[in-house]
């Protein structure tokens, strides 16, 4: 009696359990192709990059082993004032400013678009389509569009400013040092804002509505509900957004390269464009690799500090 019950209970799981115990290597075989590609593509080049950073190697001498020069590339890169300039540009105008502006605009827009009227009037589809338009635009197209919009003579922005009498003559935004960062930041923020908006929107929509209702019952004003109930609940998603956008932007190459090539002069040079220039314009692969190592160290330190801070907050130490 007991034996039949036991077999009856285990019978349905039995065939597969036996199958698995006979195939201990199978999970490894299944994940192997993916892991091999990731190893070849990430681990291999990352290690090779470190080796390259200790060599002197011209782009034309690839295939041969470079001359080992110890820390020469690092000494050269770290004592070059251009590196400090590029690091400052990467950190402040490129990353911190655009992440902060994206957070502020993204949160504001998400709070506005989360209003129930958009759902009641069945405008969700239209809202989502319009929000997504900058994001479906490839970065290259975003730069092309803004270069034309910001053209000194025929660009809409200048024509509008001149037409309104704010300025006398069109400004070549990308060629002047006091406007070029604003122009590059505008391109980047425009293209990358939708990600922040839709992530905040999704987080807002996952907040149960009875939470707001309860606050309203207790006599909280609309503003109090937003600042005391909604905003604290957005902390985790904000942490994720800040980390992702910071890492993506710090390493970004395409906006600065296509908008200004690091110019005028070297004014908007960032680490990514400096690295590309060292390797593929000046053909000094060793220097390019050394800049890559410096960038990875900075990003690694950022990620580490960020995780420590965020996790300490999660644990309630605050």
């Amino acid at each position: 009696m007991t034996t039949t019950l036991a077999t009856a209970r285990t019978a349905p799981r039995d065939p597969l359990a036996r199958y698995w115990s006979r195939n201990r290597l199978e999970p490894y075989a299944l994940v192997l192709p993916a892991m091999a590609i990731l190893a070849i593509f990430f681990a291999g080049p990352a290690l090779y990059n470190i080796a390259l950073s200790f060599q002197q190697l011209s782009l034309f001498d690839l295939g041969r082993e470079g001359k080992w020069v110890g820390f020469d590339n690092f000494v050269e890169v770290l004592t070059d004032p251009a590196t400090g300039h590029a690091l400052f540009n990467t950190a402040l105008p490129l990353t911190i400013v655009t992440v902060a502006v994206r957070l502020a605009l993204g949160l504001g827009l998400a709070l506005l678009l989360n209003a129930s009227v958009f759902r009641r009037w069945k405008l969700g589809w239209l809202v989502r389509s319009l929000v997504l338009i900058p994001w479906v635009t490839p970065p290259v197209v975003a730069v092309a569009a803004w270069k034309w919009l910001l053209d000194a003579r025929y660009g809409v922005v200048n024509q509008l400013l001149v037409g309104l009498g704010i300025i006398q003559q069109g400004i070549p935004f990308l060629a002047k040092t006091n406007t070029v960062w604003g122009a590059v930041e505008t391109m980047l923020i425009w293209r990358e804002l939708p990600f922040v908006v839709i992530t905040f929107l999704a987080a807002l929509q996952s907040i149960p509505s009875d939470l707001r209702e309860a606050a309203r019952m207790d006599g909280a004003s609309e503003l109090q509900i937003q600042t005391r109930v909604v905003l604290p609940l957005l902390r985790p998603v904000t942490a994720v957004i800040v980390m992702l956008t910071t890492i993506w932007t710090f390493n970004n190459f395409v906006y600065v390269w296509l908008a200004t090539r690091g110019g005028p002069g070297d004014y908007t040079q960032v680490l990514a464009t400096q690295m590309y220039t060292a390797s593929f314009v000046d053909y000094r692969m060793g220097s390019g690799a050394a800049i890559g190592v410096v960038m990875s160290v900075i990003m690694f330190a950022f990620a580490l500090i960020y995780f420590l801070v965020v996790f300490r907050e999660r644990d309630g130490v605050r």
Binding site: P27, M35, F41, Y48, G63, R128, Q159
Partner: protein, 284 residues
């Protein structure tokens, strides 16, 4: 909604209307740069250099004809479609097999380590890979060969694809596999005959994101494809607007065509794509 005591219906309607008008106005402003690109792409040469702002002038499709018959742009399009579709296909297949391994075998050694490594690659600065990768592909004789670009795009997309598919496969009951196993199906048969048809929605999302990421990619394509006839669309388009561009209407036409594939995919599947993407960052 039931607690709106003290607000008359008309006052409420006015408030709703104000929110909708402000919201849509801001969104139109946000979308304007791309709408402007579309408008300029239909504008004749003679009318792009106007001194004052005009929204609509003569409409012509000449730019499209010129771009598609008298320029190298169709070659770039063919290259991009070939590279992106091939890379997407292999990324999805390889990721599906790996995700199945991670989802169904919960206790194999290294599982946690490998999964953490996969997620860490998401935070990896791709840009620093370009110098060593160029050197590696060069020594393999693969610079200016589509294979190097395809492998790169597979690798870039694998981590995200594995992570998202793992989430999908975890929601599919194991009983489905068991039934197929009892019928004597092999693991690969289970994955592609049983799991794939059920995991289809997740696979579509992953495929769209992989395709779009490859389609938009600029740096690898710029560096690895050295001859003009092997350029992909983003690099080809970038070469159209050097420092002294005068044919802005052609640049805008090329921009519209470059955006069309991603635009179409997102307009068709927007609700699903957005909710699948944000699911990861919202749930903690």
């Amino acid at each position: 909604m039931s607690v709106d005591v003290g607000t008359s219906p008309s006052a409420r309607f006015a408030k709703d209307l104000a929110v909708v008008v402000i919201g849509l106005a801001l969104l139109l402003l946000l979308a304007f740069p791309f709408l402007w690109v579309v408008i300029i792409s239909f504008r004749p040469d003679s009318e792009i250099f106007t001194r004052t702002f005009r929204l609509i002038t003569t409409i012509t499709t000449d730019n499209y004809a010129k771009l598609l018959s008298g320029s190298p742009f169709p070659t770039y399009l063919r290259n991009s479609f070939f590279v992106c579709i091939t890379a997407t296909f292999f990324a999805v297949v390889i990721a599906l097999v790996a995700a199945y391994g991670f989802s169904r075998y919960r206790r194999f050694r290294l599982r946690q380590v490998l999964l953490v490594l996969v997620i860490c690659t998401q935070l990896f600065p791709f840009v620093i890979l370009i110098t060593p990768l160029y050197a590696m592909f060069f020594s393999l004789g693969l610079v200016n060969n589509f294979l190097s670009l395809i492998v790169s795009y597979i690798a870039i997309n694998l981590p995200f694809a594995i992570y998202l598919l793992l989430g999908y496969l975890d929601t599919i009951p194991v009983e489905l596999d068991e039934a197929a196993r009892i019928d004597g199906a092999s693991t690969l048969q289970v994955i592609f005959r049983v799991i794939l048809p059920v995991a289809w929605p997740g696979v579509v999302t992953v495929a769209v994101y992989a395709f779009v990421a490859a389609w938009d990619e600029f740096l690898f394509a710029l560096t690895l494809m050295t001859s003009d006839e092997n350029k992909t669309v983003p690099v080809g388009l970038a070469s159209f607007f050097g420092e002294y561009t005068t044919q802005w209407n052609l640049v805008m036409t090329a921009s519209v065509i470059t955006t069309l594939p991603t635009l179409i995919l997102f307009m068709l599947l927007q609700k699903k794509l957005v909710s699948d993407l944000t699911a990861g960052s919202v749930k903690q």
